[in-house]
């Protein structure tokens, strides 16, 4: 399926159809990340059940150094 992650259009394997699977796909499951799906911020507890569909816009953000 085609999605946009952090502003970049990309193609995901059809098996990667949940947010939790997406994080595993990019080896991010152990990282402190926050996911926003179509401008809707997801609670971590909902990652496993949140379905991804064609055309989704996803933001994956984290904390970086800053003042």
């Amino acid at each position: 399926m085609k999605v946009v992650i952090n502003g970049d259009a990309m193609e995901l394997p059809d098996t990667v159809n949940r947010v939790s699977l997406l994080l595993e796909h990019f080896n991010l499951e152990q990282k402190v990340v926050i996911v926003e799906l179509n401008q809707h911020i997801l609670d971590k507890s909902t990652h496993a059940e949140t379905i991804l569909t064609d055309g989704d816009r996803i933001e994956i953000v984290h904390f970086v150094g800053g003042g």
Binding site: N6, F26, K31, I34, D43, F63, G65, G67
Partner: protein
């Protein structure tokens, strides 16, 4: 003791986490500063480099409170979005509201800052707005319910120190919530002066991270802030125009 909302801190130094030469130096500097509050920014992750180290992961999060900022926002809406993202991490409920209104000076947009603070207070955040050293604006942010107000000493990262000590003192004198001087501090002397003017704390980043020896500077800032606070509590002597001898005038051997 510095109290911000429900939290209490022994240290009055809040430390930024940007622009350090290495994670090792940064870890040592954080240790030397004895800070209990670390600021962070929220950014898109490079998802293709999951293995890249992240400073947050190297921290014992039981020892520190995280204070994410909304840096990068130029509207209230953007700041609120960043704040909500940071809270969704489940790691923090404090937020440094930073809405920049001028890209050259990085001075805050007061109107958007107020709007963002209002929304975030409603949503239960512990709100610490970064503001200019405007006395009335600081009071309005306090009246809104902000848990602390953070006026700048001078532009972010400029290291120019406190350019308007009178305004800063007006702000600390009127405030009933903590005043944290945020941005522009360049040296330990600046930090001590801020505390001497009645600030409850100092937030700095570049002064430590860009010092020749960040670890030593972190310690210097810790000591300066402690000294400045002690001096403030002790109450400084009044200034006089002319000299006043410290030794007695009586009993001189010449008479």
């Amino acid at each position: 003791m510095l109290k911000i909302g429900p939290y209490e801190f022994n240290s009055r130094l809040l430390l930024g986490t940007g622009k350090y030469p290495s994670f090792d130096v940064q870890r040592e500097a954080v240790e030397a500063s004895a800070t209990e509050v670390l600021t962070f920014a929220v950014r898109r992750m490079n998802i293709f480099e999951a293995g890249q180290p992240n400073f947050l992961e190297k921290l014992d999060l039981k020892k520190y409170k995280l204070l994410p900022n909304t840096a990068g926002a130029s509207t209230a809406e953007e700041a609120v979005r960043i704040a909500r993202l940071s809270k969704a991490s489940g790691l923090c409920d404090m937020i440094k509201v930073e809405v920049i209104g001028c890209s050259k000076t990085l001075l805050p947009d007061p109107i958007e800052t107020i709007k963002a603070a209002e929304i975030l207070l409603d949503e239960g955040f512990i709100v610490l707005p970064y503001t200019s050293d405007d006395v009335v604006l600081a009071r309005k942010l306090e009246e809104l319910g902000c848990h602390a107000v953070m006026p700048c000493a001078s532009p972010i990262g400029s290291g120019q120190g406190i350019i308007n000590p009178i305004n800063l003192q007006f702000i600390t004198e009127q405030a009933t919530v903590p005043i944290i001087v945020d941005a522009g501090i360049g040296s330990p002397a600046d930090a001590a002066l801020a505390m001497g003017l009645g600030a409850d704390g100092v937030l700095l980043n570049t002064a430590v991270s860009s010092a020749d020896d960040p670890v030593k500077m972190a310690k210097a800032m810790k000591l300066a802030i402690e000294a400045g606070r002690l001096g403030y509590e002790a109450g400084r002597m009044p200034q006089k125009r002319y000299a006043s001898a410290s030794s007695p005038a009586e009993g001189m051997i010449f008479s």
